[in-house]
């Protein structure tokens, strides 16, 4: 009897639940805005010994928050609030914030955490992100670093916050290599320099005796390729960041320029001038015999691999003016993709594969733009007098380039959001050109 009863109930109860589900009210809500998200970044809590190799722990906690806030502001999609003007985070709030306090600051999210100098000599940064409205913890990460690397821990935390709030891949813990320029316009000294993406930890890699151009990071970030006029011949070199040594990309006297790596780092594609013609070649990154990919009369240069390594975009004047072309990685199926009027140069393929950035020359201006790999959807991102040399952030959301002032010829690095927005200056100690963004650091 009881069995039958339970069976009947088992049939009956789901039926009720189903009926309720079918009748459930549904409310459709549409809302939102285009704006930067306000995020509170108070001074982190401090734990452990007061004295650390890099100063007072409270100072470190404040500096970490300053770097995080600066990084977040540079994304353009987040407006940091603090740490200046905000009360410091109490230690008890690291995992249990008093949300009304932070809501009152106008922030919809809160970066909380602490900094601790441990007995093992490591500095730990705990990084938490909360939604101040719902009280939900959105993400947490922790980093243990050598105290001297405290900035990297802060960049990692900022990357975590940016990535969680924007949905985009991180890009802040990266480096930038570029050509540092000093001196008058007609006698400029050009050196390769490398720095963190926020302009810190800046150092020069070449001495400036020879003009250098177009440095490019390897996909692992451990090497560079660049062109130098060393020996008064434009030739490409491979530079090892760990040893500081460089070698010729292609031994010999041939002019080689505009080198860049394949996505797997095993090949380097470049231009070589031989017999009055400039064509695109590819060579193994560790050396070997170059293989020719183009043969048309004219100058074929500025090659850049697609992120899947199957295609290459380059510029060529084979039609009578500089235009963009795409070909398979073996040189087959070469097709022109730029038809918008004017000239197109220095193409570079987005790490996401969906866009190609380029320099458009026309109307007395050099402007940075993007288009689909098939050639459609051209959009110009800048409109200054002379913007050129685009390079993608590793998350494909920003394009860095250099802007040259009319008259003085001084060049400055800028980065512009690919989805629209104002270009911002990338801080460098001196003038800079030909930037290249590193991959995200491990």
């Amino acid at each position: 009897m009881l069995r039958k009863l339970l069976t009947m109930l088992a049939l009956f109860v789901p039926g009720v639940a189903q009926a309720q589900e079918d009748d459930r009210l549904t409310v459709d809500v549409v809302g939102g805005q285009q704006a930067a998200q306000p995020v509170a970044v108070p001074q982190m809590a401090a734990r452990g010994p007061v004295t650390t190799p890099i100063g007072n722990i409270d100072t470190v906690a404040n500096n970490v928050a300053l770097v995080i806030a600066s990084d977040l502001r540079s994304t353009g999609v987040i407006t940091p609030i603090g740490p200046v003007g905000l009360r410091r985070l109490r230690d008890s709030e690291v995992t249990n914030p008093i949300f009304p306090d932070w809501q009152r600051s106008g922030a919809s999210a809160l970066v909380a955490g602490y900094v601790e100098y441990g007995a093992n000599g490591r500095l730990t940064l705990a990084c938490y992100l909360f939604d101040t409205v719902t009280g939900r913890e959105l993400v947490r990460q922790g980093y243990a670093v050598d105290p001297a690397d405290w900035r990297r821990a802060a960049h990692k935390c900022a990357d975590t916050v940016y990535s969680r709030l924007s949905g985009e891949a991180p890009f802040l813990d990266t480096r930038i290599v570029y050509v540092a320029e000093t001196g008058p316009k007609d006698n400029r000294v050009k050196r390769i320099a490398v720095m963190d993406s926020d302009g810190q930890n800046h150092r020069y890699l070449t001495e400036g005796q020879e003009t250098v151009l177009t440095p490019r990071f390897s996909p692992r970030g451990d090497q560079l390729v660049y062109m130098s006029y060393k020996g008064r011949r434009p030739r490409s070199y491979v530079y090892d960041l760990a040893t500081g040594r460089s070698r010729l990309l292609v031994p010999g006297t041939a002019f080689t320029f505009a080198p860049s790596y394949s996505p797997d780092g095993r090949q380097i594609v470049f231009s070589m001038a031989e017999g009055g013609n400039t064509d695109i070649y590819v060579v193994a990154a560790d050396g070997g015999t170059p293989r020719r990919l183009t043969t048309m009369p004219g100058v074929d240069t500025s090659p850049s691999f697609s992120p899947d390594g199957r295609r290459i975009v380059f510029e060529s004047d084979r039609s009578g003016s500089q235009q963009l072309y795409v070909m398979n990685a073996d040189g087959s199926d070469q097709r022109r993709i730029s038809f918008g009027g004017g000239q197109y140069a220095s193409p570079t393929w987005s790490p996401l594969g969906n866009l190609i950035a380029f320099t458009k020359i026309g109307g007395g201006q050099f402007r940075i733009g993007v288009m689909a790999p098939t050639g459609g959807g051209e959009r110009l991102l800048t409109s200054a007098w002379q913007d050129e040399g685009p390079s993608w952030a590793p998350n494909g959301q920003f394009v860095m380039f250099h802007r040259t002032e009319r008259g003085s010829g001084n060049a400055t690095l800028y980065a512009v959001p690919v989805n629209g927005g104002r270009a911002r200056v990338m801080p460098t100690p001196l003038g800079g050109s030909d930037p290249s963004w590193s991959p995200l650091q491990d």
Partner: protein, 256 residues
Amino acid sequence: MRLDRAEWAGNGMALGLHVALVAALSLNLARHPIPAEPPAVFVEFVDDVGLEAAAPSQVPQEAPQATTPDPIDEAIPPPPEPEAAPEPPRAEPRPTPPRERATPAPATPRERPRPRPRATGRLGDDLLAGVREGNSRTGPAETAAPSAPAFSAQAQAGIVQSIRRQIQPCANRQIDPGPGANEIVVTLNLRLDRRGNLIRPPRVTGTTGVTADNQRYEQRVKDLAIAAYQGCSPLTGLPEEFYDRWKDFDMTYKLP
């Protein structure tokens, strides 16, 4: 042993009442959620980070659903790269950290929904008063059966409008994370007590419009949907006589 009529009647009544009792208890259990469980921490960090209790939520916590856990980050940045610079830096990077610009004055406090029924907006409190009376064509509410008030289309529309009107200000505050995010539609299931408070955290029950191009925004739009609801809850002014109809409802959210 033979039972007489009175005994048959008594046993039958007892059996019937037991059946009713079991059914009532079963339905009651089916309607109420399992009591909240303490939040689970999925992410491990460097040893001394993140082992403490998570922040309390403003609604009862439930164990997270079996979704993709947050990334585990054990990465410890490597020691400084011994890059050999051929030349000592001529320009030292400034040792001081980047200076913050003056922090903008705190914006006006986030507009919060009033905890009590509001009389603002185009739709006044009398909207639901009319609904409570049921369909006017059927006469005043007093004439309806007091235990089962008529839930007309008008009543349903009134409740939907009231909920939307209360949530809309918070929906409008959500930030669009990027192009294509507005194609994502998130469905939340919400369960309320009679005072309009959540009795469990909003639960994402569906997502549509996700493509390869906007997939990276899916989690964020889910966050925004939850924030849009919770930022303007608890709901107020909903007709208590129709509690059974709004105690468990769905809200879809999308960016404009």
